[in-house]
């Protein structure tokens, strides 16, 4: 790989960080610390400040995850990180890393970037090369073992989250349930090896299931679909799932890291959605249509489409969603998030949507 003049060599003993994204930082930390034996700086919890920082230094019209990532990087740098990781991906995400690096450099920040956008997805070796750049004497065996554990962690995080999401709205003691989840994430950070991860996961699932819930016979069901980052990251979407749960809604979301890893395949999805899409539109738009159609066919009471403002692939999924909504008579609420989204405006829209779907449900009884 040609070394670019825009890149700088990595320091010895670097302190690595990766932008915060839902709870997946724990898995990243494991990969860096165990797989590479290097120091990981866990990004501080995102706040209004993170967002404002990012918005101040990022170009105005770029999508919100870029701004949040930038704010997060700046906070990580304050915490001592000197080496930042950015992923690649289709869409603008593929260019996040290079632009982040340039902006930080222009701000006078002395940081290095490891940018996976330089990797070629058809050649897995290029990924290992990228990690080699971080650690020239990479122990491949140790790294592979840690990578397997990292994936297992991600799967476990997703499984616990899905269960939590379904039950929290109906819990007799929501505080206790939240405590279980907080504790789970804290423990997982300390877990070492597949065995420990598995034991912890099983115990947590059992604990969550043993919590008493008062589920009505026909709860209002809402499916949440949308763009990768914003739909999964509770800070980005103002934790709408939590808000919905507190209204007594059963929330379902297909989109998570594990499903993206194992089940996001054109070959499987396109035949299912052929009435609405003939091609993969890129990023997560195909999964959005697939999940929405699934919720529509399964008689969900409503669907919420979540994206960052201006997100091209998700905008292009909307005409298909509108047709699904018309064909299956299921209301869809379209939410766009940017750095200026107001809490009150959002809650008003959520409440109005809730009122509408619960009235419809009453009428159909």
């Amino acid at each position: 790989m040609p070394v670019s003049k825009y890149r700088q060599p990595l320091p010895q003993n670097c302190k690595i960080s990766f932008p915060q994204f839902a709870s997946y930082g724990i898995a990243m930390e494991h990969l860096i610390q165990k797989g590479l034996g290097m120091t990981y700086v866990m990004p501080p919890r995102m706040t209004r400040h993170t967002l404002e920082l990012g918005a101040r230094y990022a170009p105005d019209s770029v999508c919100a995850p870029f701004k949040l990532n930038l704010g997060c990087f700046l906070e990580c740098i304050d915490e001592g990180a000197d080496t930042l990781i950015q992923t690649g991906g289709t869409c603008r995400l593929g260019y996040y890393g290079e632009l982040h690096e340039q902006i930080l450099r222009d701000m006078g920040k002395d940081v290095r970037f490891v940018n996976f956008a330089e990797c070629d997805f058809s050649h897995p070796k290029t990924f290992v090369d990228e990690f080699r750049e971080l650690k020239p004497d990479l122990d491949l065996k140790r790294f592979s073992a840690a990578a397997v554990e990292t994936v297992r962690m991600v799967n476990a995080i997703d499984e616990v989250d899905a269960l939590f999401r379904r039950r929290i709205g109906f819990a007799e003691d929501p505080k206790a349930m939240e405590a279980i989840r907080t504790n789970w994430l804290r423990q997982l950070r300390l877990a070492d090896g597949i065995k420990q991860i598995e034991l912890l996961r099983k115990a947590t699932v059992r604990l969550l299931e043993s919590q008493k819930v008062n589920m009505p016979k026909h709860p209002i069901r809402v499916g949440v679909v949308g763009e990768f980052f914003t739909v999964m990251d509770p800070f980005s979407n103002h934790d709408i799932e939590y808000e919905l749960a507190h209204m007594g809604v059963l929330v379902d979301r297909w989109m998570d890291m594990s499903n993206c890893m194992y089940h996001y395949r054109s070959r499987k999805m396109l035949p299912r959605i052929k009435e609405y899409a003939h091609y993969n539109m890129g990023a997560t738009a195909m999964a959005t249509i697939d999940a929405a159609l699934h919720y529509a066919k399964s008689g969900f009471d409503g669907i919420i489409h979540v994206k960052s403002a201006g997100c091209t692939p998700e905008i292009d999924a909307i005409p298909a969603l509108q047709n699904i909504s018309a064909d299956y008579h299921v209301p869809i609420l379209y939410l766009s998030f940017d750095t200026q989204t107001s809490e009150t405006g959002l809650n008003t829209r959520l409440e109005a949507f809730y009122d509408m779907i619960s009235m419809r449900k009453q009428a159909h009884k």
């Binding site: 170009p59 770029v62 999508c63 593929g94 260019y95 940018n115 201006g310 692939p313 292009d316 298909a320």
Partner: protein, 307 residues
């Protein structure tokens, strides 16, 4: 058979290829007229609010073609290879058009260009010809003729560039997607304004595409979009030969939001004006900005001011 082609988006890049292909097969080609206010309004009516302006205009052109042809040609274009991605809009275009005009019984003909997944342009056109019921050899010949037409169009642009660079006039590189620069309603007023201020606008697509793409690598490492890379490369090639650069983007453009930023940060020693086309009525604001920008370029050229 009458094939309709919307005069928008990549018509301005691949129009010669497409038109020659269909007409060599004996199809009648209907191209929608130049964008006017009515087409823009109808595009805005059909499009999702947050969509980029250029895609809204496209839908206006599709709407115009409804009922005026047998099939509307809407290709799906993913990529032409590594770091030669099209904006994701072009992956979605056939499905966006289909879903938007479903109740209008729109009939499309499409083909899929996705080189990294093994669907080359030639293969895509072979399938397109087959779908339309033509013989293999016939289709192949049409494709070859179409490629020739495309090359001629490119050669014509190269000639224009050489002629322009040979002139003494103040020169302004207008860097943007061809469908924005050449659009009669949104881009042409900008070109006119530059001319009105005694400067020569040079559209970025006058620079040979392949060589521009290559040069793009000097400004950026990981830029995935082919056309935006060409824009960066055209600026790299011309930065010593023009007096200023106007970065022209349509409102809500994804790739440009990042490309404009990197170009502003990395292209040194040349004045840059970043301009967003929003399709709103009235060009007064735009004209004022162009006028003061070009004024500065004139002063700079005369050596009156140093920037």
């Amino acid at each position: 058979m009458r094939i309709g082609i919307p005069r928008a988006l990549y018509y301005y890049r691949y129009g010669a290829l497409w038109k020659t292909f269909f007409s060599s097969l004996g199809c009648e080609v209907v191209v929608s007229p130049k964008t006017d206010r009515a087409i823009l309004q109808s595009g805005i009516h059909y499009a999702i609010d947050e969509s980029c302006l250029s895609a809204k205009i496209y839908l206006g052109h599709v709407a115009w073609l409804l009922g005026k042809c047998d099939l509307i040609f809407v290709p799906r274009m993913a990529d032409m290879g590594r770091d030669k991605e099209f904006c994701l809009k072009f992956r979605a275009l056939p499905d966006v058009v289909y879903n938007t005009f479903r109740t209008e019984n729109v009939r499309l003909v499409t083909c899929d260009i996705a080189v990294r997944s093994g669907d080359s342009e030639m293969k895509a056109f072979a399938e397109l010809g087959k779908k339309l019921g033509f013989k293999k050899q016939q289709v192949f010949n049409a494709y070859l003729l179409a490629k020739q037409a495309e090359q001629q169009a490119q050669a014509e642009n190269t000639r224009k560039l050489e002629a322009a660079l040979a002139k003494d006039d103040l020169k302004v590189l207008v860097s943007g997607h061809a469908y924005n620069i050449y659009d009669d309603y949104i881009g042409r007023p900008v070109m006119d304004a530059i001319r009105a201020n005694h400067a020569l606008p040079i559209p970025s697509d006058w620079v040979d595409r392949d060589s521009a793409w290559q040069s793009g690598g000097e400004l950026t490492d990981t830029m995935p979009w082919m056309v935006n890379r060409e824009l960066a490369g055209a600026a790299v090639q011309l930065r010593g030969k023009v007096d200023g650069i106007v970065l022209l983007s349509s409102f809500s453009c994804g790739p440009d939001s990042m490309t404009d930023e990197i170009m502003n940060r990395r292209l040194k020693n040349i004045p840059i004006l970043t301009m967003t086309l929003d399709g709103q009525d009235g060009t007064a604001g735009m004209e004022t900005r162009i006028e003061s920008f070009v004024d500065i370029l004139h002063l700079r050229k005369d050596g009156t001011v140093c920037l």
